[in-house]
Amino acid sequence: MASVVGTFTIDPRARRAEAKRRTKGEGPTAWAFVSPSVLIILGLSIVPVLWSLLLSFQSNDLVSPSQWVGFANYKALSADPAFKSAVGHTLVYTALYVPLSVVGGLGIALMLDRQIRFISIYRTLVFVPFVVSAAAQGVLFSFVLDPEFGAANSLLHKLGLPAQGFFSDPGQALYLLVAISLWSGTGFCVIVYLAALQGVPGELVEAARIDGAGRSGVLRHVVLPTLTPVSVFLVLFQTINALQVFDLVFVTTKGGPLGSTTVIVYFIWEKAFKTFTAGYSAAAAYALAVALLLAGLALQLYQRRRTGKAAR
């Protein structure tokens, strides 16, 4: 049949039948296409996830054979003051970083959403810190905030203000980490909001204007509701990032001074690769994973309820 099909007279039905005939028996080709990704992705995620669960019920030092200890790791974890304070530091960091970066990002995006000269330069400058790695950020700010040689204290000195301890001060270190993360992470929220602002329907804004809405009225009743899905995404994305903060801590404070910046992931890394208690570390990782899962689920439920309300 295929031989009869000329260039000019392809009957769509024949074409579809031909396509269907050819898709039969495509299994081996399809498997050849997907197998590298399937092997690597599933092999390095599903297997380790289950392995981690097993590890969390074992005592393991990454070298000698492990021993089954049941729930002992979890029990010890719930009583470990170091873990408790790591959870606390992570929560403080998240509670400050997420709202400030999302709300700040929205504010800056609204300011940058206008056609004036140099606007693209402003946008670039606000965003550029985002592409700088956490390691490079950490090294840079360790230098800027060095109590002896840093530019920050040099500036304070010029202004006649007292010198600060910065990362060597247990009362300041965690907040400095939040500030550095805001410097680099807010730009991402700005870019995502700027893209979303392009999608605010112009007719709606105009209609609201005609109905007598002022600038703040348009913002409240038209712009912000259209941005809601993006805001929800950003809160989720930033929360997941904040709960997993590690690189910046590792480079700047190594969890110190006096454990004041030991966050959960730093705790997990320390237990596995410094004190070689891998089973205990796996239990902490599972606790974090469950927290992340709950955060994700809660947000999704909230979103579903909201859209449900909107539909009614």
């Binding site: 295929a2 590298p36 990704s37 990454l62 840079l140 000195h157 010029k158 596995a272």
Partner: protein, 272 residues
């Protein structure tokens, strides 16, 4: 009140943008300072001239160029592999019918929510069993393809009209041929998105190299930089020069391909 000759928004936006730029400006400035200028108290805020001693020190160091090469190899392989395996997998999931495809795609998507900390210890053990710990292989294998690349390609291919492929299909082209000569030339946005995001995450990664690499000749730039800082504590100019060299490829890439870069990052946000 007299009207300003420019938009009043500049009065807010210029200082704000400067605030974000300042640490990076300081990075550049301090990398060309003399150590004497940095080490006096209070340190100088403006260098007396451009001094390339820090750069000379870093590039003359036996290990630093090696770290750069290691980072480059790992990132280049990761980008290439993600483009190849991601587009192959994405195409199969978008266009081909095979038993279990829905289940597999679902599983792949589910793995995106697994935090890295949960898999890092067993991944370390797997790499150890494969004999890859402390080699670049340990960095390369886990980054060969991510579920995100496969998913992004699939989403893009699904939106392409089937008619485009049909002519080649009827002419007897195989799937691979269609993918390479018909579909991929149309998929530039997807290709650049995957390339940008893969490069950014592999070049900037610190956690996994920290776990998988022991010997300093196998370090990546990010890992080297963190130890460099301790070793040359008084040589801040050299440390900052090394930092500039670490940041530069990403920064240059960003400035050259700003549109593709921003589009790819924004699209991850909007489709999430």
């Amino acid at each position: 009140m007299k009207r300003l000759p420019f938009s009043p928004w500049h009065l807010v936006l210029a200082p704000l943008a400067l605030l974000f730029a300042l640490p990076l400006i300081w990075l550049l400035v301090s990398s060309v300072m003399r150590n004497a200028e940095i080490n006096r108290f209070p340190p100088a805020l403006i260098p007396s001239g451009i001094n390339l001693g820090g750069y000379r020190f870093v590039l003359g160091n036996a290990l630093f160029p090696r770290w750069f090469l290691n980072s480059f190899i790992v990132s280049a392989v990761a980008v290439t592999a993600n483009l190849v395996f991601g587009s192959l997998g994405g195409y199969a999931f978008a266009r081909m019918r095979f038993a279990g495809s829905k289940l597999l795609l679902g599983l792949m998507l589910a793995t995106m929510v697994i935090p890295f900390q949960l898999t890092m210890i067993p991944t370390f053990l797997v790499m150890k069993d494969l004999g890859l710990i402390d080699t670049l292989g340990a960095l390369i294998v886990p980054s060969l393809v991510t579920p995100f690349s496969v998913f992004l390609f699939r989403q893009f291919f699904v939106t392409l009209p089937r008619e485009l492929e049909e002519a080649a299909w009827i002419d007897g082209c195989g799937r691979l041929r269609i993918l390479v000569s018909v579909v991929l030339p149309l998929a530039r946005p997807a290709l650049s998105t995957v390339a940008v995001l893969t490069f950014l995450s592999t070049w900037n990664d610190l956690t996994w190299p920290l776990i998988a690499i022991n010997h300093d000749s196998n370090y990546t730039l990010q890992l080297g930089l963190t130890t460099f800082q301790g070793q040359h504590h008084t040589q801040w100019a050299a440390v900052m020069a090394g930092n500039v060299i670490t940041v530069l490829p990403v920064l240059l890439g960003f400035l050259l391909a700003q549109k593709a870069f921003i589009r790819s990052l924004a699209s991850t946000g909007l489709k999430g």
